[in-house]
């Protein structure tokens, strides 16, 4: 089991962090998705191709590296379809498709994934997807579809015919969703639908780790400069002890994310338990930390102008992104054979 980043992985982290610090600082994320930043992220850093196999022009890295990248995009509250594309890429590593893989690796294609089943009639897909992450920004949808050959994975051009997209505003101001209706949309079969839910759990947990780390960093920094009653607020045990508890959650969350990513890459039999653990623990911890970071800011944390609510809302949106959180606990119960 490997819970500590390698030298190479630390370099990746530093590169992504440095890039986002200048290309997508917090004041910018309110303006939403910036395709230029996205293009540079994928071009200069090759992030979208991180887990794409080398034969398709990607870096051929594992979920461990993707987790490092997602932690940073999470910490920066990066708007746009990066997580959605990562979800789709995770699916595509199981049903490789040269066109999509290459397009994602080159940063040409932004994709998204739905876990809701479509129906496939020949080559045309039907179905209503109530909430698709970054559904307006993505060009391609990857989704399972029920066909005569059983459950297959299909790809649908979202700008193509038979597709109706409705933008959905969400709690998370930095990232929207879409309602997508497919009525005979041309769909390409990629292969039998693979089991990818566990990997999605790990990828999301990596983003959540970044969100909670950045939230904790923000309130720790504030506690060192904000004064009340003549003292820095961080010197009061009421604040200090809460921050210490938040740190403990962060340490545990990081340990779980490293473990789950390692399991995805190296120990498939441990992956289901590790993935469910990651969502059950990290999703909750992330919201709790983001919540307390907001509350400890006092009144200013309640203003629209301050960034605290952006973390709070991302944390909540992420917590329910893959379903009501109890499903991860139920899965743990099942895996533990309780």
């Amino acid at each position: 089991m490997k819970l500590v980043l390698s030298e190479e992985q630390r370099e990746l982290r530093a590169a992504v962090r440095d890039f986002l610090r200048t290309a997508s600082p917090l004041p910018k994320v309110r303006h939403g998705y910036d395709p230029q930043v996205y293009a540079r992220l994928n071009g200069e850093l090759g992030l979208s191709g991180l887990i794409v196999p080398e034969e398709y022009g990607g870096a051929g890295a594992g979920l461990t590296e993707l987790a490092v990248a997602l932690e940073e995009t999470g910490a920066a509250l990066l708007p746009g379809p990066f997580l959605a594309t990562a979800f789709a890429a995770i699916a595509l590593t199981q049903v490789p498709d040269k066109e999509l893989m290459t397009g994602i690796a080159e940063g040409r294609i932004a994709a998204t994934l739905s876990e809701t089943e479509l129906t496939l009639d020949g080559t045309s897909a039907h179905g209503t997807l109530a909430q698709v992450l970054s559904g307006m920004e993505a060009g391609v949808l990857v989704a399972p579809a029920r066909s005569g050959d059983g459950l297959v994975m299909v790809a649908v051009e979202l700008a193509g015919p038979g597709v109706t997209r409705t933008a959905l505003e969400t709690l998370d101001l930095t990232r929207g969703q879409a309602r997508i209706e497919l009525e005979g949309a041309p769909a390409r079969v990629l292969g039998a639908a693979p089991e990818i839910g566990d990997r999605l759990c790990v990828a999301l947990a990596a983003e959540q780790l970044g969100v909670m780390r950045a939230a904790l960093d923000a309130i720790v920094a504030y506690a060192k400069v904000r004064v009340a009653f003549g003292r820095y607020i961080g010197s009061y045990q009421g604040v200090k002890h809460k921050l210490a508890d938040m740190h403990g959650k962060l340490e545990q969350a990081e340990s779980i994310v490293r473990y789950a990513a390692w399991a995805a890459d190296e120990s498939p039999e441990e992956l289901p338990g590790a993935a469910a653990l990651a969502q059950a623990y990290v999703g909750r911890a992330c919201f709790e930390v983001a919540r307390d970071h907001l509350l400890l800011h006092g009144g200013i944390g309640f203003t629209w102008e301050h960034d605290a609510h952006l973390f709070y809302k991302r944390a909540k949106a992420d917590e329910v992104l893959l379903g009501p959180p109890r499903i991860h606990r139920a899965r743990l119960a099942q895996l533990l054979e309780l």
Partner: protein
Amino acid sequence: MNLADYRRAASAWLRDNAPTDDRPEGDGLGRAKEFMARLHDAGYSGITWPAQWGGQGLTQAEERAFAAEARDYTLPTYVFSIGLGMTGPTLVDRGTDAQRERFIRPLLRGEEIWCQLFSEPGAGSDVASLQTRAVLDGDHWVVNGQKVWTSVAHHADWGLLLARTDVDVPKHKGLTMFVVDMHHPGVTVRPLKDMTGRSNFNEIFFDNVIIPDEHRVGEVNDGWSVAVTTLLHERLSISSGVGMGGQKDNPATLEALRKVVDTEDPLVRDQLVELHIRTRALALFNQRLAQETRAGIFPGARGSAAKLLLAELYMFQADLATRLVGPEAALADHPLAHAISLAPAMALGGGTNEIMRNIVGDRVLGLPPEPRVDKTVPFKDLKVGTQT
């Protein structure tokens, strides 16, 4: 008139006069003002305030009787609430006769609207560290600075303003209270958008605003003691409302949730049970405080425990509800998306949870105070606001 008669009369008056539509279209403010005038004419505005200045000179008993009858109506009095609950009582207690004569009656009749100007961006929990300056220039004061978290300021005619008048003395000893004309050209009112995206508060900027010295409330540099009076009235008016209803439109209550979540799932059921337990525990505590108050036992700082628990309950229930409902709850037009955005409000308004715990620890449990570093230093040498 005995109390039962009083109550019957109030009931009848409300039946005939209370607006049936609580969200009137069009000129809501105008109609609210009309209603206040009628309320005052009928003798139900300022029930316990001195008759001399326009009140009714009656007792808490009549006030409670009217409040009990009014509970079934949604009276359009929100815009007057700062004046009625805080600034008015402060003037009654601490103003000059000239100030009472000038301000109380129009306030009670809804002719003039009031706001309160204490909090600043650098002075929230620690209001006494505020930095807005008032400098005496002949027979008037010149005010510069910024206030924040001000309710109804965009409608206000007058504001009760706490400002610093001496920086060479410790922070509590260099403050003075004023009545400021909100229509003065140096006053700028700007809506403050909160994290729900709505604007229920304002920021106020003062740029060489002039206040005549006769609008000073209390002695120069004795403003903190006046502010304590106001804050006491504020606390009373908050704690009396705590937990009493107010959850009707909340989509995160048990009653709302049971309709939308899967109660076949035993884990969901148990979470709803937890919500029920916490809601009932606090509701019963609030009812006990209310019964004690009626029995003449003043709850004092124990109201801060109730406020703290309410803040925690609001946060808990919105958080729980979004988890139970799942992905849908994150859609901007889902009621729970608004609820989770609004949930921190109770914990941040009227004193943070940390301040409430200090109050309960110090005043209810009698624990030793934190050593204070800010009570003896001249204000100009004190760390305040945000500093690196």
